[in-house]
């Protein structure tokens, strides 16, 4: 079902045009990269502040809340372009191990955000009053760095695999034909019997 969805979406006129365009595709890819810098930089700053490694003169509340809007803008750019890129090569990516890993990691990033939202990211002012950065905040920062860096690397990895779609299509056709022949076999036998 997922596969037929992937095939359908990349066959739509919009994604077919995007995939075939000499300029649109690389431009979307470049914007994806720009989004990575704008979003990734903000994630990095926030996480390094949570770990107590950078910007220690600024309060956590300052760093976490002030970078929230630029971070979201960056995320919007990177996610929009990412969806466009994924849509235009959906069937190929369906078979791509790096793409699958990236999706799992993105889910983890979502879970990370849900888990730490209340205790860390929406709680910066409270943490500033504590004498030390709480351990769970440091954990949140470290995990976030790890997850997002892995996502970037997996994203790069996608380009290194090109699933042999032609071969896969040929195999699927053979399987379908065999199944069809098997399905019709009893009827053919019966007919011959008459």
């Amino acid at each position: 079902m997922l596969l037929s969805f992937a095939q359908w979406i990349q066959a739509t006129a919009f994604f077919t045009a995007l995939r075939g365009s000499a300029y649109a595709y690389p431009i979307v890819l470049s914007l994806h990269m720009t989004g990575i810098a704008l979003f990734g930089g903000m994630v990095l700053l926030t996480d390094m502040r949570l770990l107590g490694l950078a910007m220690r003169k600024h309060s956590l509340a300052d760093v976490v809340t002030r970078f929230r809007v630029p971070k979201r803008v960056g995320f919007l750019i990177v996610a929009t372009c990412g969806l466009l890129l994924a849509g235009s090569k959906a069937e190929e990516y369906y078979y791509n191990a790096f793409f699958r890993t990236k999706l799992i990691l993105l889910t983890l990033a979502g879970i990370h955000a849900l888990v730490f939202r209340r205790s860390v990211y929406a709680n910066a002012a409270d943490m500033d009053r504590a004498p030390k950065i709480p351990a769970h905040a440091k954990l949140a920062g470290a995990l976030s760095l790890l997850i997002w860096a892995s996502i970037a690397c997996m994203g790069r990895g996608i380009g290194y695999i090109e699933p042999p779609l032609d071969k896969i299509h040929a195999q699927i056709q053979v399987i379908q034909e065999t199944a069809l022949a098997a399905f019709h076999a009893p009827a053919a036998l019966l007919e011959r019997g008459h």
Partner: protein, 150 residues
């Protein structure tokens, strides 16, 4: 002689299928890192970002990390370049990227730093500097990506 030497470096780099992808991962992570941090200063100069601190303070706190990120980018870049020198030198997007990079670096450490450090500079100058800085770095990113498409 030089060409032979370059070829032997390329052979060494191409002997393992992991060198290029790993160098590329570092290159990408570090450019996101350094350009993201430069953008944090630009955001502040444009009037969003950390408003409780002056641009000079944001710059002061991010600069060591930006330089570290740039160092990783500028070390991993040549590894990628040396793996296929001839292709890169004939690639118009690569040439564009190198020019944009040179301008961006010079601009960053002269005008951008000077304006960011000065708390007395007039707001329009600040805004223009931030926009030029963002535009330069984004054009470097575009130049890098288009290498694979020209």
């Amino acid at each position: 002689m030089l060409l032979l030497q370059i070829n032997s470096i390329a052979d060494a780099l191409n002997s393992s299928e992991w060198v290029f992808p790993i160098a590329e991962c570092f290159h990408i992570a570090a450019f996101a890192w350094s350009i993201g941090l430069i953008a944090a200063v630009d955001y502040r100069m444009l009037g969003f970002g950390i408003q409780n601190s002056k641009p000079s303070e944001v710059l002061h706190d991010t600069a060591p990390w930006t330089i570290l990120g740039l160092a990783v980018v500028l070390l991993s870049g040549p590894v990628l370049f040396l793996s296929d020198v001839r292709m890169y030198l004939h690639n118009s997007s690569f040439i564009f990227k190198m020019c944009a990079l040179a301008v961006a670096l010079v601009f960053n450490f002269t005008v951008h730093w000077k304006v960011a450090k000065s708390d007395t500079v007039s707001p329009p100058v600040r805004v223009v500097t931030a926009i030029v800085s963002l535009a330069l770095w984004i054009s470097v990113v575009f130049g890098g990506l288009f290498i694979a498409f020209v």
